[in-house]
Symmetry: C2
């Protein structure tokens, strides 16, 4: 029997219309989809793809334990990869739904590293939250011979400060509970910035950095820094 | 009369299926499109959108002089913006076709800065050549708490070297005639890299850095550096 193919498909930043035509085609004709979820049900990637999911599609929900330790997550990836492999071995293609782009800070890499050596694997790139956030605020992200730095807020403070000190354009992602640290560094360096929560989702919020109280923002927040 | 809206629409990296559903919808129902071109005809953005262009669409081709000096280009943008403004004033929407993403090193910013203060302007983000190149070579671009640097090869040599010395993940874009400089720096720093010419286009070529002779590659080349 011919083995199925594994597709890592970027569904874009939030608005379902911001997935690619290729993602739409693959999802709307899929037999089996897979995605990460929390609490056995919440999946941003599935929510984005929902308008295009066939009624009869089989779903592999990979439940990720919400803990900091690495081991429970690795077990969840192991189990998810096994379920996906079983479908591929039966000859079914599996479409793994990934927020944004699969290879841009995507959890798809954990499935990819487990299965790509055995099964044909195709990655379909997607629009990231970074360019979606710049579009949402109507501000060019980067141009000409400027460097762009994408910096996870989870980086340690000294490293994050060092990258921001001499940057031209930067986007800070994965903000969540690291917002306090990020705000302090940006204020110290006198850098202006805009925070975009849930870019292109129905609950998108845009605020200037200095107008935001508190030390926490949603995980899906992008902070666009204009340093020039 | 109601004025038209200006749309800056990312058409993605090359494969027409990698434009978003929103870009496809706007292009396939457009009355007027605009794009940059060279020699009065060559336009990568138009080539990508071609399968979806309506037969009766009006086209504003903004012919860019192929010179290093700034002034002729500024005049071409002035004239292009005037032609677009004339259509918007007549109540027509204008879809400006942009390779990749309009605000990610896009020439759209030159039209945006001339017209966005006067006309309602909407930016539709697109897939960039950077994540498309990573997908093409089947290699995760960046993950966890790593920083990603996007570096134009047009940057001066010292600055480019300084950014590459302590990077985790980097993508070098706009390679063209700067390839010799880039190759020398990467070799000096003992960094492995893959060059992807024309990612996702029909003429895509993938080569390891060390297998490439000569000092020039196409402008639409992305070099993915894995520094870890």
């Amino acid at each position: 029997m011919v083995m199925g193919k594994l597709y890592g498909v970027g569904v874009g930043p939030g608005d379902p219309e911001l997935m690619t035509v290729k993602a739409w085609r693959l999802i709307s004709t899929s037999d089996v989809v897979a995605y990460l979820c929390a609490n056995g049900k919440d999946s941003t990637a599935r929510d984005i793809a929902l308008p295009f999911l066939p009624e009869a599609v089989a779903e592999i929900a990979i439940d990720m334990p919400m803990r900091v330790e690495r081991e429970p997550a690795q077990k969840a990836y192991d189990q998810g990869a096994e379920e996906i492999a079983a479908q591929l071995t039966r000859g079914k293609n599996v479409i793994m739904l990934c927020e944004g782009d699969p290879f841009f800070y995507g959890s798809f890499m954990y499935i990819f590293e487990r299965l790509a050596g055995t099964f044909e694997t195709i990655v379909v790139p997607g629009v990231t939250s970074v360019t979606a956030a710049a579009a949402a605020i109507g501000q060019p992200l980067v141009s000409r011979d400027e460097a762009l730095k994408v910096l996870p807020a989870t980086m340690d403070e000294a490293h994050l400060r060092a990258e921001l000190v001499n940057c031209t354009s930067a986007a800070i992602i994965k903000v969540g509970r690291h917002f306090g640290k990020v705000k302090a560094i940006l204020n110290e360096l006198k850098l202006k910035a805009t925070a975009i929560e849930n870019a292109t989702h129905d609950n998108q919020i845009i605020r200037e950095l200095n107008s935001i109280e508190g030390d926490t923002l949603p995980y899906f927040t992008t902070i666009i820094v204009r340093a020039k």
